[in-house]
Symmetry: C2
Subunit: 381 residues, 2 copies
């Protein structure tokens, strides 16, 4: 297939530091190329890919010091529009800006929603364009949206097996990794460690918006012999940090749509002690790849229980569900499902017919065509 | 003319409380209707207008508790698109979201930029679509943007004469009105008042983002017999608050693109003591409608000088440049200039020809047509 991947511009693909979505887009893009697909990546200049790169902007918006990404994304989407008839599938990872512009491409445009959907701000667009194909990153994620949307699938993120290598031995500390925000509940992690009498290492950056929370809640809890705050770490350090741990603590208090760090821990063989929130029950198999808890006391018990868990089984669970190969297969299935919906309207007997189909506008739309192609022109003349 | 006005959705038009852009759009819309134009207003439900209202959303996004306006604006723009061929002119007041979708309507779509343009975040869109017609609200405002854009005009805001009625007597206090943010420099206002020995009344709301600045800088300066902080006031109170003042203090420290409060003060006959920043030299006639200063000492001197200024001359200056009638005439001139540019490409001899022209796509674009109209279809068949 000829596939376009449309990445956020905040970071390069893959990102140099943080940037969960850009990392996932990178894994998917490289795996698609490896499988022989003809992939074009629209992403920030400076991205590194085996696909054809069309820069949406000259370098990542973080490096450019740009906070409002709207204008840059619109410019990138206009580039996508100019190339649209070169692709069988256009796969967007940037939420909502593409909707009005690409509404007549619903036969080949699919959007993965990467963010939380429990805030009403984006709902009007899904209500206005219910025919646009969507993919969620967990089943839980899509619950707040209205019924009747065109969900193609849930596709869980998957990382290459080598990214966080299996660590058979693990270690003797609990790990907390991520932003130090109220919804990630580092305070719970600290409480669990103190009650369990087990060391906790916190590797996290503190965003400006979280500084007040950090000062008020977290900092006063840090002065304890069991608690070590090691600050921000990079990608390479991250996997050894998680891999060398007894368990990852994931005591979230919000509807986390996925939680990439959980699969990175499982990849390293490190079980996850996670709160029963958001996507957690879909990602952790309780008792196999981690322990799902509802309270501090349950989590303290879990710290004892994980000592007897088989790290090889944790890794095998990761290998059976959350590699980039699983993700890529599921995405290709979704692409084929989308194209199949279109195909079923008219029998296809040749590559030429598929090529023609690619350019046909979505018959579900009664509006004006946003795109005319040379095929359409020929049909008219 | 058949004119569409596209307002921001943050507030109703006119706004119940704050909302400078929504207020200006309301003044323009009502004046256009009064002049016999056929006006359609796209704005939040609950707006109040003599034009035809097409709600972009059911009620203002502030009332809905929506912070990210993107999705709602996109849904509104899609409604505009469906009605686009019903208008001779489409006048956008919402910055950048309309660009890719409406790029082939540059013969009849004009955007007034209401915000600051000195931050790089929006620049990519102007660079990518330099042919799109723009209107600035001051000459100073447009300076940061690259050369070669399609500026039609600068059109200053204008308010109806009755909004802030002339107050011949004025009063004996200095007035400060607006957000208590660092760039508005309420600290300068307080310093001026104390040095001049003249009472200062501060009517202002404190936004969440400004709270830290208020606590650190402004609050400690308030405890003084000359300084009175009266909090947030509504539109009606605003005009008597300004009208009863000796002078308005406008000691800004940023590139303010317009500053509506300056013309409201002049409307009431109250001279403005303003820093030489942003649009100030374009709006205040030094020595006639106010005094332009560069320092605290100059401002303290100005407080003495304004006592001898003729408030009738201040009002007359407002009446000669900043009423809704001036603004509306200037906008209609800009609309005609835009249509004239198009007209000049082909002689027009009848209303029918104008109607046809209205639907033609911009020949400066080499891209694919975003809109097909029945005319286009007929031309093809």
């Amino acid at each position: 297939m000829r596939i376009a991947q449309i990445a956020p511009l905040a970071e390069a693909v893959p990102p140099k530091l943080y940037g969960g979505t850009e990392r996932v887009v990178s894994w998917l893009t490289e795996a698609l190329v490896e499988q022989g697909h003809e992939v074009t990546l629209f992403a920030a200049g400076g991205s590194n890919t085996a696909a054809k790169l069309i820069p949406g902007c000259d370098r990542s918006l973080r490096l450019k010091g740009i906070h409002d990404h709207t204008a840059s994304n619109l410019v990138m989407l206009d580039k996508v529009r100019r190339h649209a008839d070169e692709f069988d599938i256009i796969h967007c990872h940037i939420d909502v800006l593409q909707y009005p512009l690409f509404q007549d491409l619903s036969h080949k445009l699919v959007t993965t929603l990467h963010g939380r959907l429990d805030l009403p701000d984006t709902w009007p667009i899904y209500e206005a364009f219910p025919h646009m194909p969507l993919i969620s990153i967990s089943n839980k994620q899509r619950e707040p949206l209205p019924a009747g949307l065109n969900w193609l699938a849930t596709v869980y993120h998957g990382s290459p097996e080598k990214v966080c290598p299996f660590n058979e031995k693990g270690g003797d500390y609990l790990a907390f990794l991520g932003r130090l925000s109220a919804e990630k509940r580092p305070d719970r992690a600290i409480e669990i460690a103190k009650k369990a009498g087990v060391p906790l290492k916190i590797a996290a950056k503190i965003d400006d918006v979280d500084l007040a929370y950090f000062k008020a809640v977290v900092e006063p809890m840090l002065d304890h012999p069991l608690i070590e705050f090691i600050g921000e770490i990079d990608e390479d350090e991250k996997c050894s940090f998680i891999g060398n741990a007894l368990a990852l603590l994931f005591p979230i208090d919000w509807v986390e749509p996925f939680g990439l760090v959980m699969i990175e821990a499982m990849s390293a063989g490190t079980p996850v002690i996670a709160w029963r929130e958001g996507s957690v029950p879909e990602i952790i198999q309780d008792g196999v790849s981690g322990i799902i808890v509802d309270s501090i006391d349950m989590a303290v018990d879990a710290v004892e229980r994980v000592r007897s868990m088989d790290r090889r089984k944790v890794r095998r669970y990761f290998e059976s569900r959350f590699t980039d190969k699983h993700m890529t297969r599921n995405y290709v299935d979704a692409y084929e499902k989308l194209l199949g919906v279109t195909r079923s309207r008219r029998p296809i007997e040749s590559r030429k017919a598929i090529d023609g189909l690619r350019r046909r506008k979505d018959p579900r739309l009664d509006g004006t065509a946003l795109f005319m192609t040379s095929d359409d022109d020929e049909n008219r003349s």
